[in-house]
């Protein structure tokens, strides 16, 4: 079994080179490029051998972070490597224990693990001070790598069942939120520490060395420093942790193999009979019906939630230069950035519906109603959020005088983005995760068109919003009259672009909806 799974992974690796020639060249170039980086990193780590003090300060924290990364990545790229999805083996009569070991062995045959192993070799070299530290270094580094891989398998297995139930998906959304919220203070703290990076690293390493994630990475350092008993204790703890993880992985896998689909059924949401929910709200028009249906989808479909939850946090990244580099005005950009992102985010809206879109085609929905209805929910959310960001940004920057210009610019960017999205979502749909798939899954072979469409959407919305952007720049550089001008022109421009976008989009929709449906069914 183990041999089969390893061979399967080897075949898959080889097949990466078997697609088109251009793709093969791309793969080879990527391998060479990342290979250089990895080898350089491995040498860098190995050179820590010269400075034991530094090694003790750096390696445990880096090791712990690596384990964390290994467990987080599957959450976000979940579904990208379905070959080792335990659910797929449900129909084969393989004993769970063999399957568990086999899947770990299979996971070891992969480019990310090979890269990790190369760096781990560097770690082993760094610890080779005495015979004992060399041996413990080799053993515990191997344990560390295995811990990372097992952890990532276990997290994937748990996420598989969590993501397929509706409640689990909510938990995932909250988790992603917490991670993001935690992320910015960490960045700020790190950049504040500025001068004393080594001191911070040393204290973090001390803490990390006592957590399950750091045991394996800290043990050899103790031995090298002469604390043999402590080092052996940590190694024992690390082995124990690996064993616990192994058991967790085995039980998660057994559950998946024994009832691969059960997780999707329970927890089915039910509403009272005759309750139409949101469909009963709003004006009695086709556009409103479409808008309400989209809102219901935002509420119930994790693929929309991922975007909705993440987008409002992106402009907060501007707080980092604000707090650390003392660039006061940068927060003024928060609202325009959010406006741009929210409107741009609609540029592939129809693709998320996949072939359910036939209902719109079959009904002969008027193009304008379809276009307008799809954009309204985003407008409803963007308007208050962007305004709040504009006020907060002006307040932080201490430039309330520029608030009208910020609002005008944001309105223009929203309008331009929606206009572009209204047209592009018909003309240039690209494959996305299908309904029911993980929000983070990317369909294979779609990277090219995805990048092109995203780039076209971004550039054309900025181009369309150019006049108010120029006015805003003038306002910022001190031209007093331009503040009011940006406000008025920006708002008018945004509304105008929105209306034009909806009309043009509507006309193209009426001409092309069968073709759009075909391209949605094909992928």
């Amino acid at each position: 079994m183990v041999a089969h799974l390893v061979r399967l992974k080897l075949t898959l690796l080889r097949n990466m080179l078997r697609r088109s020639r251009a793709q093969a060249i791309g793969v080879v170039l990527a391998i060479v490029y990342f290979g250089f980086i990895v080898v350089a990193l491995a040498f860098g780590v190995a050179s820590l051998r010269a400075d034991l003090d530094l090694a003790v300060a750096v390696i445990p924290v880096v090791g712990a972070v690596a384990v964390v990364l290994w467990s987080l990545v599957p959450l976000f790229s979940f579904g990208s490597d379905p070959t080792l999805d335990p659910g797929r083996f449900a129909t084969f009569a393989v004993p769970p224990r063999q399957l568990a070991i086999g899947l770990i062995a299979g996971a070891l045959v992969g480019l990310p693990v090979i890269a990790t192993m190369l760096i781990a070799l560097g770690v082993m070299v760094a610890w080779s001070h005495t015979v004992l530290s060399t041996v413990v270094g080799a053993v515990s580094t191997a344990v560390g790598v295995l811990t990372a891989v097992t952890m990532s398998r276990w997290v994937t297995a748990v996420a598989t069942s969590a993501l397929s139930s509706r409640r689990g998906k909510d938990v995932m959304g909250v988790l992603a939120l917490i991670l993001l919220v935690l992320f910015s203070p960490v960045l700020i703290a790190l950049s504040n520490a500025g001068g004393d990076v080594l001191g911070v690293a040393r204290s973090v390493s001390t803490v990390a060395g006592w957590t399950p994630l750091g045991w394996a990475w800290a043990a050899p350092g103790d031995i090298a420093l002469g604390h043999v008993a402590l080092g052996l204790l940590r190694l024992a703890l690390a082995l124990g942790f690996l064993w616990v993880l192994g058991r967790l992985w085995l039980s998660a896998l057994t559950r998946l193999v024994e009832n691969p689909r059960s997780s999707a059924r329970p927890g089915a949401a039910t509403v009272a009979d005759g309750d139409l929910g949101l469909l009963d709200r709003g004006p009695d028009t086709v556009a409103a019906a479409v808008a309400m249906r989209v809102l219901i989808y935002w509420w119930r479909d994790p693929r929309y939630q991922a975007g909705m939850l993440l987008t409002p946090f992106v402009p907060l990244a501007l707080l980092v230069p604000y707090f650390t580099a003392d660039i006061g005005w940068v927060t003024l950009l928060m609202a325009p950035l959010l406006a741009f992102l929210m409107a741009w985010g609609e540029h592939n809206a129809v693709a998320y519906e996949a072939d359910a879109f036939w209902m719109h085609v079959a009904a002969g929905t008027p193009g304008q109603a379809d276009r307008r209805g799809r954009l309204v929910p985003s407008v409803l959310i963007a308007t208050p959020l962007v305004s709040a960001y504009a006020v907060a940004g002006a307040w932080l920057a201490g430039r309330f005088d520029l608030l009208p210009a910020v609002l005008g610019l944001s309105a223009a960017l929203l309008g331009a983005g929606y206009a572009v999205s209204s047209v592009l979502s018909i003309v240039m749909p690209y494959p996305v995760a299908k309904p029911g798939e993980s929000p983070f899954a990317t369909p294979p072979g779609a990277t090219g068109i995805t990048l092109v469409a995203q780039l076209v959407a971004a550039m054309s919305s900025v181009l369309l919003a150019a006049p108010p952007i120029v006015l805003a720049l003038l306002a910022w550089s001190g031209a007093g009259w331009a503040v009011a001008a940006t406000a008025v022109v920006g708002l008018a421009w945004g509304v105008l672009l929105f209306e034009v976008g909806v009309r043009v989009g509507g006309r193209i929709y009426e001409r092309r909806s069968p073709e759009l449906l075909m391209s949605l069914t094909a992928n």
Partner: protein
């Protein structure tokens, strides 16, 4: 049409009292059409996908008030043909008319008369059953009150009342078929085009659907369905067309097409191929 009666459908001749050509959206139920002219007319319809010609020029008239069965082996081009007739897939050549309206020149008018149940396409399955049916009505511009009222009637008639508040994604395959059928019926179409309507549907639901379709035809509507279950087509349909490999092999009233044989025998002889299986000796357990 929402009252499920037990009348089994049988042949109904074309020719019912006229009730105006363009039915407004709020008309209660289909009440037949003018006496002359086919319900669906297909003229030289063909579709090419790259190098593959899926449908090779089909001419076909579907009489008004007929229960029309489209049969053919897997990959014969049934779904492609029906998609082109219903405005979901643009034909490479040819035309399709629904009650005299050109589907591709005047899609809005044609689609108003059509109710569609496609096979293998998703629905908006994060809506509840009742929401989905209502949404389908709203998309066609029906007033909300009327759509909600009819959706409730449909849910009761199709035996989905207890599941109306559940998300469609949690429905079984048969229930999904029924809820999609209800979505196709809500605007009171005159022509129903159903792709494999009985696949994965349990016998009880299948009987319900049959009686609803029977009533629909009885009151002057036209049903076109595709299937590869010959027994079912033989029992239900007044007219059949056999297509294979993108071509029309036979069409007409059921008795004319089957020409004294059973439909299955006739079908196999038309389509060709053999029912003799060679090899697979290891499958015969008696050979142990």
């Amino acid at each position: 049409m929402t009252e499920s009666s037990t009348t089994e459908s049988s042949t109904t001749e074309a020719g019912f009292a006229a009730a105006g050509e363009t039915a407004p959206a709020d008309l209660p139920a289909p009440r037949g059409g003018p006496a002359e002219g086919p319900a669906v007319a297909i003229r030289g319809l063909g579709k090419r996908f790259g190098d593959v010609i899926a449908v090779k020029g089909i001419d076909l008239d579907v009489p008004r008030g007929s229960f029309f069965g489209l049969v053919g082996p897997n990959g014969a081009g049934k779904t492609t043909t029906l998609s082109m007739v219903t405005g979901l897939l643009r034909p490479t050549v040819g035309q399709a008319f629904v009650l005299g309206r050109d589907v591709w020149a005047d899609p809005v008018a044609a689609k108003r008369l059509l109710g569609i149940l496609p096979d293998g396409l998703r629905t908006f399955d994060r809506l509840t059953g009742l929401q989905l049916i209502t949404y389908s009505g709203l998309l066609r511009g029906m007033p909300r009150e009327l759509a909600a009222e009819r959706a409730t009637e449909l849910v009761n008639a199709l035996g989905l009342a207890s599941a109306q508040g559940k998300l469609v994604v949690d429905y079984s395959a048969g229930m999904t078929k029924k809820v999609t059928l209800a979505s196709a019926l809500i605007h009171g179409p005159r022509v129903l085009v159903l792709d494999e309507p009985f696949e994965a549907v349990d016998p009880v639901s299948s009987a319900t659907i049959r009686s609803i379709l029977g009533d629909f035809v009885e009151s002057g509507g036209t049903v076109i369905l595709s299937s590869h279950v010959m027994d079912l087509v033989e029992r239900l349909c007044s007219h059949v067309a056999v297509i294979a490999d993108g071509q029309l092999l036979a069409h007409g009233a059921l008795d004319d097409v089957r020409a004294g044989q059973s439909l299955e025998q006739r079908f196999v002889s038309l389509v060709g191929g053999t029912t003799q299986v060679e090899g697979l000796s290891w499958l015969r357990t008696s050979s142990d």
